[in-house]
């Protein structure tokens, strides 16, 4: 357990000042939330860099390097942090009590996530196996990735999560496949804290509505798939989406750059992050128009995504989606979409009450949703379209592919989509749907 707790503590120590620097965030909860996301990514990238140095993965080396990074981040935040966002008024005590169900869901998730070693097939065959082999090797084992792993373990999958598992094992001194479950609760809590701050900012004196809205999102932030990459991906994608939303609303290149960095970290977590970087760019342009200064904010995500592409290309770590003639399969799938539609009809994501509520909320607040939440709608819609294209491109049987991935893929966009609807519903309940805030003048950040 100690390795997991050290990872969470160091992620916060590195990430909170980075979040303060990158997002102008002033709310304590949101700083913790963003801190966990930025900090987890920073530790993964640090492990990647230390892997290039012989002996770089000793316990002393990785903890010292993380502490140095935290000190540098704090020093930069103290000297260079921009003017913070206005502070939020404190929640009244009765409204705080209403947050209890969200805390219970997170606590229950932590109990579930740590009850047993991770058992997901993809943990044993891929994410956990890579982490364990890297840790045994004392560095990223490129030879294994490009060799034996090639035929079974999706060597092309990004390695941020295995690097974090290796960090935990290195600090712990032994392989840890049970306590790592706590990371999934921490990441869920992180994105929920960020969403809670955004909801409060949208309706600062909302009384009980915002706490109920936070509770409505709590179950959507946690993931049942412990040991695989979707939990971290969901949190990074959710945090990125909310930052891009704020950045386009405020026309703030700094916030867009911070959101883009989280998109880039998502690309280090799952291949779907590559398309998320593109979806993020499309959403920013669709929302804020063609503004070169804002578009420059998208660079961190592109650079990070490209950085993983370099070793992947050098070692020829190819995706199974690329096998044979993927374009031909997509064109054929578009001509004959029957198998995909049948599979989507068979393997639904369930939860009709949730989707019914989202649909009803979207209809009630259609006008506000289209006007104010365009970024989230375009981002999620584009990403879903990429997922459908990937199904058409797959060389595997579509029914099998949909059965074992659709629910997980939908969970990636479900959180930001639900946030878009919930924030509009909050506005309707608090202000009758009036404007969230005065539009800000374009900043020179």
């Amino acid at each position: 357990m100690s390795g997991t707790l050290v990872l969470i503590a160091l992620a916060l120590a590195i990430g909170a000042p980075l979040a303060r620097l990158a997002t102008r965030e002033s709310n304590g909860g949101a700083l913790l939330g963003f801190g966990l996301l930025f900090g987890s990514g920073a530790i993964g990238v640090l492990m990647f860099a230390l892997s290039l140095i012989p002996g770089g993965w000793s316990r002393t080396a990785i903890v010292t390097a993380a502490l140095v990074l935290a000190a540098l981040a704090w020093a930069a935040a103290i000297r260079l942090a921009p003017a913070p966002l206005p502070p939020l008024p404190p929640l009244p005590p009765h409204a705080r009590l209403l947050l209890a169900p969200a805390l219970l869901i997170l606590a229950g998730h932590a109990l579930y996530a740590t009850v047993a070693p991770a058992i997901e097939v993809d943990f044993l065959e891929n994410w956990g196996l890579k982490g364990r082999i890297f840790w045994s090797h004392g560095a990223i084992d490129w030879e294994w990735l490009a060799g034996e792993a090639m035929w079974q373990n999706h060597p092309d999958y990004p390695i941020l999560l295995p690097l974090l598992f290796a960090f935990v094992a290195t600090v712990e001194g032994s392989w840890e496949d049970r306590a790592i479950g706590l990371l999934y609760t921490a990441w869920a809590a992180g994105v929920l804290l960020v969403a809670a701050a955004e909801l409060r900012r949208s309706a600062p004196r909302s009384g009980v509505v915002v706490p109920v809205a936070v509770v409505s999102l709590a179950s959507l932030a946690v993931t049942p798939w412990i040991g695989i990459a979707d939990g971290l991906f969901l949190a990074l994608a959710g945090g990125a989406a909310l930052l891009l939303r704020r950045g386009t609303a405020n026309l703030d290149a700094r916030e867009i750059a911070a959101g883009s960095a989280l998109l880039g970290l998502a690309a280090w977590t799952k291949n779907e992050g590559m398309t998320l970087v593109v979806a993020g760019a499309i959403a920013v342009i669709a929302t804020a128009g063609w503004r070169p200064r804002l578009l420059a904010g998208l660079l961190p995500g592109i650079v990070l995504a490209g950085a993983w592409g370099v070793p992947r290309a050098l070692l020829g770590l190819e995706s199974d989606l690329a096998a044979g003639d993927p374009l031909g399969r997509v064109l054929e799938g578009i001509r004959s979409p029957g198998p995909l539609l049948a599979a989507l009809g068979t393997w639904t994501t369930g939860r009709p009450l949730l989707w019914g509520g989202l649909l009803l909320g979207a209809l009630v607040g259609a006008r506000e949703l289209l006007r104010r939440e365009r970024l989230l709608l375009v981002l999620c819609g584009t990403q879903l379209a990429f997922y459908l294209l990937a199904y058409l491109a797959t060389p595997h049987e579509i029914d099998w592919q949909v059965r074992w991935s659709w629910e997980r893929l939908v969970s990636h966009v479900r959180f930001p989509l639900a946030f878009a609807v919930v924030v509009v519903l909050t506005a309707i309940l608090v202000r009758g749907g009036g404007p969230e805030r005065e539009p800000a003048p374009e900043r020179e950040s």
Binding site: L104, I105, A107, G108, H109, L111, Y112, V115, A116, P117, I119, V121, L124, E125, G128, L129, R132, S136, W144, E148, W151, Q152, W175, V212, A213, V215, S216, L217, S219, L220, V222, P224, R351, P352, L353, L354, W355, G356, G357, L358, L360, G361, V364, G365, R367, E368, R371, A418, V421, V422, L425, T426, I428, L429, G432, G433, G434, P435
Partner: protein, 163 residues
């Protein structure tokens, strides 16, 4: 007279389209549907679950198709050394008919060892795996002729190759 702002116009339109009170009622209903529709009661039940029983049940799940396999892997771990390259034999005829299942679990559990596969995804056998291995292990199969078995258990064997 001043021109109404876009927000004023939309608010007017919204109110014209749907009475304010009805809109709030529907918004409340939608928020409650999202809250309860997304609620995962399983996590709340964890407060009352028998964690020991649940842990044992979950920990056995990845091996349920190969009874006795965890014990076999524990014996292999004991009989081999860190850095050993191991080739795994099982009675499965096809890669997706059980060999992948057995190999992936062995590769994960046998920490510090490399577990080579003799069967690939296309069901093609890789005889070269024997040449690269220090140790041959077999689960519920007989040892191939010509190798000296160093451990023989109820469910399998371990044979270290002389190099």
């Amino acid at each position: 007279m001043t021109e109404p702002s876009p927000d004023d116009r939309s608010r007017t339109a919204s109110q014209r389209g749907m009475p304010h009170r009805a809109r709030r009622l529907l918004a409340s209903a939608a928020l409650l549907m999202i809250t309860f529709g997304g609620l995962e009661l399983f996590y709340l039940r964890m407060f009352f679950a028998d964690r020991t029983e649940l842990r044992e049940r979950l920990a056995g799940l990845p091996y349920r198709k190969l009874p006795g396999y965890p014990e076999f892997l524990a014996a292999v771990m004991e009989q081999t050394r860190e850095g050993d390259v191991i080739v795994l034999l099982t009675p499965h005829a096809g890669f997706e008919e059980g060999y992948r299942y057995a190999h992936s679990r062995a590769a994960y559990v046998l920490e510090g060892r490399r577990v080579l596969a003799v069967l690939g995804p296309d069901d093609r056998r890789d005889p070269g795996a024997f040449d690269r291995a220090d140790v041959v292990v077999g689960w519920r199969v007989k040892p191939p002729p010509g190798i000296a078995v160093t451990w023989d258990g109820a469910d399998g064997f371990v044979a270290r190759r002389e190099r």
